[in-house]
Amino acid sequence: MEDLLYQFMNNFAFLILSAIGLAVIFGMMKIINLAHGEFIMLGAYIATLATKAGIPLLLSILLSVVGVGIFGLIVDRLIISRLYGRTLDSVVVTWGVSLVMQQGILILFGPSLETLSTPLGSISIGGSDYSLYRILLFVTAIVLLILLYLLFTKTTFGLHSRAAMQNAEIARSMGVNTNRIYSFTFSIGAALAGLTGALYAPTMAVSPTFGGGFLMPSFVTVIVGGANPLIGPSLSGGVLGVVSTGLDATWGTFFGRLGLLVVAILVIRIMPLGFSGLVEKLSVRKSRG
């Protein structure tokens, strides 16, 4: 039982953390960022290189967040800002960005980095060892969701960005600088991807293709979650976490993976707006009824 719980925590954290940056960018800006994996990879590189250079891990992670955030801002100013509202063109451009980033990192740092060791060691429960750091990742994922919730509900930026998300034109007419909001959003999404990369860097092999492993789970989580970057991932992370843990434990890793994709396909067919669409529908009913 502890085992299953631990696995669920692992899966949940991985789904949430891999999706969160993508969810913010897709939900707020309707931009499908195919370079999401490479942003995560960049975060992992910054954290690993900084730690190797003697900077404490915590500080290195912070450095990743800031670094990838700034990188995201630059990418947005140079490229994405010209494509607001052009969802499909953004697919092509971000694919181009991912090619450049992956090969650029390969040229700069070679095909692989020396990895870090997972900090914090493990705890023993019922004669079985569990990595403390991974439990901490689960906690981080939840804290991150709460922080984002606060950011988007309690701050002016949050208010404006939600307005821009629902109706950009009206938001503009009310004096909201939507372009600045989008820039900020993209940069926050990038920073979150950086954080994910940095957090997972000490637990995985770091290479230019590091981001590839995050792409599928992140897309599935966002698809199942729907547009709302807060409600969506938390619900879909929960449901998908249970599904993949269950399938994984009963039939093995292959079915765990296939299960995620099949759930995603069914969800799009049955409720294209995902869990956030469902929640919005329910909340409307509740408030009116």
Partner: protein
């Protein structure tokens, strides 16, 4: 107005240039190839970008080193060897395009290369169709019986059989296998099973992990429940290698790991922080660390780093690539020609090259290599210790169990122990 016109004519110019470029690319290169040139062209297909570049670049560098040495010693048949090496980008489609290009346009004498089995299977039929001599200088799951193909890397007879025998004897009979869920993993796992059964062991479980999976909590929990004496890991790719770090934190490090894929190829023991790779036993045909004990290895390692000081490791695939090219050169000299049939005959004469890892001899019946195998293990600090050495291990499964004899019978297929 004027400005607009300018822009228009500019775009027209662009169209013109594009069309011209297309035409030129078609005609320009075909006139370049010439059979009587002063060079012998050697095709090398290795991945210098993408998923497999970690090993691909090592192999590419080893090929450069080998060709440079051959040319320093006067080349072949009085001609210089010229290496033609496109980047295959870890992309199977690209392998096919480039293999055809090397054969039909560059008219190379032989082709070296490919890392993954999928890449090899993509180009092997092209080699057969075009009667092109092909060296697959890589460790793999074994079983390719093909007149045009030679393999200088390690196969299960070299690595798996001695490794499993050793582990069962030393640690106990209960074996747990986790393997990448594709051909290499499936077939290698079959070899594990076969060897375990033949040596009185018991296979507790075998688990296949899809490529690209990087999170292992459920697998780790299953292994811990099964409590095996030996854990065989046949994981492939950067994603799957994340297993070791996760195992070291929540697994049972007292269980020894055995592997044929780790350390010697992608130097995980140097890239991963200890103790992720601690307590691992590996059989290999070459490793950089052999230089502690063997002068030939030291010579090769020194040469390699002299030419590529920024490289991080010289592994067994680099050695195979280097040895493969040297064997080919030796065969060309012996045949006094680059004619494919003559070179194959020379190779099938039991030709041998005394390379960095000891003598490597081509087994005529199977086109695989008879070579030395080394067993090493890591301590808690991931330092490598050389435990044993088996001399002149024969690649004889094909010839013994499948009656393959390429000197007598034409073949172009891959046998597997699956059926």
């Amino acid at each position: 107005m004027n400005n607009r016109k300018k822009r228009k004519s500019l775009s027209l110019l662009l169209v013109f240039v594009l069309v011209l470029a297309g035409i030129l690319s078609g005609c320009g290169k075909s006139s370049g190839s010439n059979d009587d040139s002063k060079t012998i062209k050697l095709g090398v297909l290795e991945d210098r970008s993408g998923d497999f570049s970690l090993v691909g670049i090592q192999k590419y560098h080893a090929a450069q080193l080998a060709v440079e040495e051959i040319n320093k010693q006067g080349g072949l048949l009085g001609k210089k060897v010229q290496m033609v090496a496109p980047d295959t980008q870890s992309d199977n489609k690209r392998y096919q395009e480039m293999a055809k290009r090397l054969i039909l346009q560059d008219k190379v004498a032989a082709i070296m290369g490919a890392f993954s089995s999928a890449s090899r299977e993509a180009i092997r039929p092209i080699m057969d169709q075009n009667k092109m001599l092909y060296f697959y200088n890589n460790q793999y799951e074994g079983g390719v019986a093909d007149n045009m193909t030679f393999n200088t890397g390690a196969i299960p007879e070299h690595q798996m059989v001695p490794l499993i025998q050793y582990m069962i004897k030393k640690f106990g009979p209960r074996v747990y296998t986790i393997a990448a869920d594709y051909n290499f993993g499936q077939i290698s796992a079959q070899w594990v099973k076969k060897t375990v059964e033949a040596n009185g062991g018991k296979l507790v479980n075998e688990e296949f992990i899809p490529l690209g999976v990087s999170q292992f909590s459920s697998t780790i929990s299953r292994i811990k429940k099964a409590k095996p004496d030996v854990l065989v890991t046949l994981l492939v790719g950067q994603d799957q290698s994340s297993f070791y770090e996760q195992w070291s934190k929540s697994g049972d490090k007292s269980i020894p790991m055995a592997s044929t894929v780790n350390m010697a190829q992608a130097y995980e023991h140097k890239r991963f922080a200890a103790p992720a790779l601690a307590n691992m036993y590996v059989t290999a045909t070459f490793m950089e660390e052999l230089d502690q004990k063997y002068p030939s290895a030291k010579k090769f390692v020194d040469k390699f780093y002299k030419k590529f000081p920024n490289d991080k490791y010289v592994g067994m695939e680099a050695e195979s690539e280097y040895t493969g090219i040297m064997l080919w050169a030796k065969a060309v000299k012996k045949a006094k020609s680059t004619d494919t049939d003559k070179v194959i005959k020379a190779l099938e004469s039991g030709i041998s090259y005394d390379g960095p890892a000891g003598p490597v001899t081509i087994d005529p019946k199977t086109h695989h290599a008879i070579r030395n195998v080394y067993l090493v293990h890591t301590d808690a600090k991931q330092k490598v210790h050389i435990d044993t050495e088996w001399k002149d291990v024969k690649p004889d499964w094909l010839s013994k169990e499948k009656n393959v004899d390429l000197t007598k019978k034409q073949e172009a297929k891959q046998y597997t122990p699956l059926k």
